[in-house]
Symmetry: C2
Subunit: 207 residues, 2 copies
């Protein structure tokens, strides 16, 4: 389990030429850090007298940010598994026409499965980003910069997940699938750079 | 040592209300992930026949990206230490005028020291970002999306480090220091969002 390794070991393995972890797991970890910061700000607000009026909202944010963080952690592991399947299909024999055909089917299936992971990560990143405005508004004011950091990392992870979707789509031959996934990705990305800038601007106004 | 803890434990502690790690360490980890991806792409290029013409350049990039990654890892630890000093000064007694004066001196010193860490991280993030265009141009084409992910995370970490500088500057009374550090930060940020977008655009053109 990659997540059970020390942070330095994870970084050493990421930096190495080993097939996994790669950019997909890196994006999932960045998103998990973003969600963790939203949770941290909520945890610094829970039970505080000055924030008595927003306790129900903060509890709701915390439950959601922790759910999203754990989904990022799952996606980090799933990205490794999906990439391993692509590598396995890639190494299948291709000496005969039958072998080539079998390898092609396996490759196309593995690539579609490997696309689902960063696509789901992109959705989770949007959900993390959507928690930030209320978190910056109602959360502990001493930690408001941490909401800004969370939003910056969630948006970067969204863009990173998009690159990981696109590199897979480039090798998928099912044109209808590619068009559908590309449209889904575009709709996830739309307006999110602006949302992130607005969150950072609101945070900076409170510093 | 925070870096020796499992990734999940780091994330659990980040999400908690414990004083450290916080947004500064989160930004340093995101930057380390970005640098690690630049190293990964270089490691996937070293010794490859198709890339024989760029081996010297790739070796230079790899040496530099690994140096920058290790600086991020050091800064992650240093951020915790600097924040601990600020907390310690904050908790000093303030019952008498003398105690208040002593506490104020300690607070101001701790805040200046705590500003130096994210400022240095911002510089390192710029250096990581500066490695990306050549890395996307000369590195293993199968891993070009990972350079894009690295650039996205390095730029988000730069912006995150800037928020951490700004929150400290807000409590520092030395006007000359604040003006100087703010100018330094502005010059580090200038043009970097555009540089990141250009890198991602170049990467997308190769997918």
């Amino acid at each position: 389990m990659l997540l059970e390794k020390p942070v330095t070991t994870f970084l050493d393995e990421l930096a190495s030429s080993a097939p996994a972890p790669g950019g997909g797991s890196a994006a999932a970890l960045a998103a998990a850090i973003g969600a963790a910061l939203v949770s941290m700000v909520a945890n610094l607000t829970v039970g505080k007298k000055q924030y008595v009026d927003v306790q129900a909202d903060i509890q709701r944010i915390l439950t959601r940010s922790e759910e999203l963080r754990h989904r990022c952690q799952d996606l980090l592991q799933r990205d490794v598994a999906a990439y391993t399947e692509v590598s396995r299909a890639f190494k299948m024999p291709r000496d005969t026409e039958d072998q080539k055909a079998l390898r092609d089917v396996a490759m196309q299936k593995a690539l579609k499965d490997a696309t689902a992971v960063p696509m789901e990560l992109a959705e989770v990143c949007v959900d993390i980003l959507d928690l930030c405005p209320e978190s910056a508004e109602k959360g502990n004011k001493n930690a408001v910069s941490d909401v800004g950091v969370g939003a910056l990392l969630a948006e970067a992870a969204l863009r990173a997940a998009a690159l990981n979707v696109l590199i897979n789509l480039g090798s998928i031959k099912d044109v209808a699938f590619v068009q559908k996934e590309r449209a889904r990705l575009d709709s996830l990305l739309e307006g999110k750079a602006e949302l992130k800038e607005q969150i950072v601007k609101d945070v900076e106004a409170k510093l």
